[in-house]
Symmetry: C2
Subunit: 411 residues, 2 copies
C-alpha cells in the first residue's frame, strides 16, 4: 500500500495525469494483482462504510479512479463516466497493463463529445472490480487474506452508491453528466433513479433497464467456465498461488462473441484461414476467427481477475430497475429533472434496441426530457467503444446542448 | 463386441424394432461408452476402407443405425434421416441412455411426414460420433487403444460417404428422400451434391451451405472448454479413466443458448427465480435459466463423448459446399434431378434464413426443382426438433407430393 496515491482531502482543481513509460511497462500478472500494483490511479479511502443492497456492510472501501480535465470553480462541470463489465477507470489514458489507449478514448478528450477542455471527467473502477477498487482480490479485514468469495455480493446500485461516495469525497455536489455503455449504461440509469437531484444529464448507451434471460445465460456460462477450472480453487486461487487462466479465457471467448454482430464477424473474418493455404484437418486454429478468439481469451487473463468476473457479471444479472420500483420502470424515474439521451445500435443483439425503447417509454411515461437515437451500424454491441461517427455526433450534440442549458461556457 | 448385432448380408425387409425396459435402463457412463454398450442398434461392418476427404483411410468402419418401417420389394421407399451435432441414430425410438423419445419422433412415425407405414426409414450415427459408429472412442487397430485424437479428421462429406456405404451394404440403390436439420441438413445438401443420382428428394432444414464465422466461433468456445478441462488428458481420458465432465458441460451450455431464440428464452424463463422468493446474493442458480442450463450441461455429459464433440463440431466448421465446387454453390448442384424443399425459421439466429436463401438461389441457378418455406416461430434453431404445426404440414406436403411423383402407393 506504499506506492499508491490516496486522496484524503477533497481537491478543487485536477489536471490531466500524464502517463509514462514505466506505467506501460508494469509487469503483468493477474494472480499478483493487488491495489498496490496500480500506483498511478488515485485511490480514495472512503471513511463511511458502504451498506450494500444485500444488507451487508463493506468496509473499508477504497475506490481507484482517473480524472481528466479541470474542475471549475463552482464545481458544475463534472462528468462521471461509468465503465462496462471488463473495463476499468482507464477510460482515456494509456492502460497501465495493456499499453493500449483507454476504452473511451474516442469519446473523452479535447474537442471530443466529453470534452476535457470543458469538463472535469471522472472514471472510477467499480466495486467488485480488480483495478484498485475494493473487490474480491482486496484484503478482507476479518482475515487479512484476499476476500475471494467472502466479499459480499455487490449490485449495480452498490456500484453507484460507491461512486456517489467518491463524488462526496471529491466535494462535488452534483454531476453535469453521467455517461456509459452496456453495464456502464445500467449505472447511468441507476444514478438517475437513485440520485435524481445529482444528475443534470444522463447518457445511457447500448444498455437496458434489466438483464435478459439470454444475457444471464451467457453470464452463467462464463461463471461455469471459471469455476470449472481446478485452478480456481473454490475462489481461493490468490492464496494458493494459482490462476484459473483457462476457465477465464473460455469465459471471455464466449462473451466476446456476443459483443460482435454476425455481419461484422462475416465481414472481418468470414471463413478466412489463419496463416495457411488449406485446412489442417486438425484442431489448430485454422480459421482467423479461432485465432482471434484465442488471442482475446489469452490477453484477457493478463489483465482481469477471475473472481471479479464472477461478481461483476452477477451484478448485471441482478439488475432490474423496475423490480425495485413496484414493477414500474416509469416509477424509477418519477419527477426526474434529468435530461436523457438514450442510444442503441441496430446490430447489437446483446442489448437490442428494444431494451432502449423500454427505457424511453418509461421516461416518456415519467414526462422526462428524453431523446432517443438508434444508430445504424453493423458493429454490434461493441459499437459503443468504437469510433462510430453518428455516435460521436449524437453524443456531442446532446452534451453541448445540455451544457448550454446548464450555463457552462463553450469550449 | 459380442453383444451387438452386426449385419453381414443386405436384407430385403426390415421391421420396426421394439424397445424394451432393459434398453432404457442401460447404465449411463460416458467414459465406459463403447460400441458394445449399444447392442440394440444394428451395426454394419463396412468391408471397404473409407477414404476420407483429408486423404486418410479409415478402417475398419462400423456404422450403427436404426430403421423404422419396411423396405418395399423394389427398394424404392427408403428415407435416410441425418442427425445433428449431438443427436444420434435414435431418431424415432426411446433413447437407450436417456429414456426419452427419439429426437425426431414428431416427424417419423405412422401418419407423420416421414410415415413409417409408407417408408423404410434409416438413421445412422455419423462417423466421428459416439453411439456405435466409428469415432474417437473406437479402438484404433494400430494400437488396440481408443483412437482419441489419433482418429483422422472427418468431414460432412465423409459422414455422407459412410452413409452411402451403409446404403450399399443394405442393398438400397437410391433414396426416396434424405432429410435432416442443422448439421443433418448439411448432410442432406452434401448427399444431393455428392450422390445426385441416388437422391430423389431432399429436405434440408434450418441449415446452411457453409458454417459462418459466428458458428465457428461458438464451436471453438466449446472445444476450448473441453480441452481446458484437465480431465480431458490431451484426449486420452478414456485410457486414463477420467471424463472431462465440467468442460463438456460448459461447451453444451454455451451451445444450448444458440439453439434458442431470445424471445423464447424470455417467454420461457424471463427473470424468474428458481425455487426461491428472492435473490440469494450469491452464486447459486437463482434464476430458472441458470438452473436449466446447468441441467442441460450435466445431462449431456451422461450421453455424449467429449472427443466426439471436438470432431463433429470441426466437421461442421469445415463445411463449405461451394468451396469444393470452384466457389460456386450452383455448381454443387449442377444438372441435379433431385426435388428440394428448403425450410428455415424466422427466429433461428444460428442458421438464419439468409443461409437458406443462399441455398435456394444456388438451386434456382442450377434450374433445380425447389420449394422454400420460412416458418414464423419464436422457437429458434431448435424449432426443427419441435412439434411446429407449419413444419409438420410443410414437410408432409412435400414428401407426399414427391412420393406421388415417385409412384409410391399412398398410405
Amino acid at each position: 500500500m506504499t506506492s499508491e496515491t490516496v486522496d484524503s482531502a477533497a481537491p478543487t482543481g485536477f489536471t490531466l495525469r500524464p502517463m509514462n513509460e514505466a506505467m506501460i511497462e508494469l509487469s503483468v500478472n493477474a494472480a499478483a494483482r493487488r491495489e498496490a500494483d496500480h500506483p498511478r490511479s488515485a485511490v480514495a479511502a472512503i471513511a463511511k462504510p458502504l451498506t450494500l443492497e444485500s444488507g451487508s456492510i463493506l468496509a473499508p472501501l477504497r475506490i481507484a479512479y482517473q480524472t481528466y480535465g479541470v474542475l471549475n470553480a463552482d464545481r458544475s462541470n463534472a462528468v462521471l463516466v461509468c465503465h462496462a463489465l471488463t473495463a476499468d477507470q482507464h477510460a482515456a489514458n494509456i492502460h497501465p497493463l495493456t499499453g493500449k489507449p483507454g476504452w473511451w478514448s474516442t469519446m473523452i478528450g479535447p474537442g471530443l463529445p466529453i470534452d476535457t477542455n470543458r469538463f472535469f471527467v471522472i472514471c472510477s473502477n467499480v466495486v467488485g472490480g480488480c483495478m484498485g477498487t475494493t473487490g474480491p482480490a482486496s484484503t478482507d479485514p476479518a482475515t487479512g487474506e484476499p476476500y475471494g468469495l467472502n466479499l459480499p455480493m455487490v449490485t449495480i446500485g452498490d456500484m453507484v452508491d460507491a461512486q456517489a461516495a467518491l463524488i462526496d469525497h471529491l466535494g462535488i455536489p452534483d454531476l453535469f453528466c453521467v455517461a456509459g455503455g452496456s453495464m456502464g449504461g445500467m449505472q447511468v440509469l441507476q444514478w438517475a433513479s437513485s440520485h435524481p437531484g445529482r444528475v443534470f444529464s444522463a447518457l445511457p448507451i447500448a444498455t437496458a433497464a434489466k438483464h435478459s434471460a439470454q444475457n444471464i445465460a451467457f453470464d452463467e456460462v462464463g461463471r461455469q467456465a471459471i469455476t470449472a477450472d481446478p485452478d480456481w480453487r473454490g475462489g481461493r486461487y490468490l492464496l494458493e498461488g494459482a490462476i484459473p487462466r483457462k476457465g477465464l479465457a473460455v469465459a471471455r471467448m464466449a462473451a466476446h462473441i456476443t459483443y460482435l454482430s454476425e455481419p461484422a464477424l462475416q465481414r472481418k473474418f468470414g471463413r478466412n484461414l489463419q496463416d495457411r493455404d488449406a485446412r489442417s484437418f486438425g484442431f489448430d486454429a485454422d480459421f482467423q476467427i479461432e485465432s482471434y478468439l484465442r488471442h482475446q481469451g489469452a490477453s484477457f487473463v493478463e489483465r482481469f481477475d477471475a473472481n471479479s468476473y464472477l461478481y461483476v457479471t452477477r451484478a448485471m444479472d441482478y439488475f432490474d430497475l423496475a423490480a425495485n420500483h413496484g414493477g414500474s420502470l416509469a416509477n424509477a424515474f418519477r419527477d426526474t429533472k434529468t435530461r436523457f439521451c438514450v442510444v442503441s445500435f441496430t446490430s447489437d443483439w446483446l442489448f437490442p434496441t428494444e431494451g432502449s425503447r423500454q427505457i424511453v417509454h418509461a421516461l416518456n411515461a415519467a414526462a422526462a426530457n428524453v431523446s432517443f437515437v438508434e444508430i445504424a451500424t453493423d458493429k454490434g454491441h461493441d459499437a459503443f467503444l468504437l469510433d462510430v461517427p453518428e455516435l460521436i455526433a449524437t453524443t456531442k450534440g446532446f452534451i453541448d446542448s445540455a451544457a448550454k442549458v446548464r450555463g457552462l461556457p463553450e469550449a
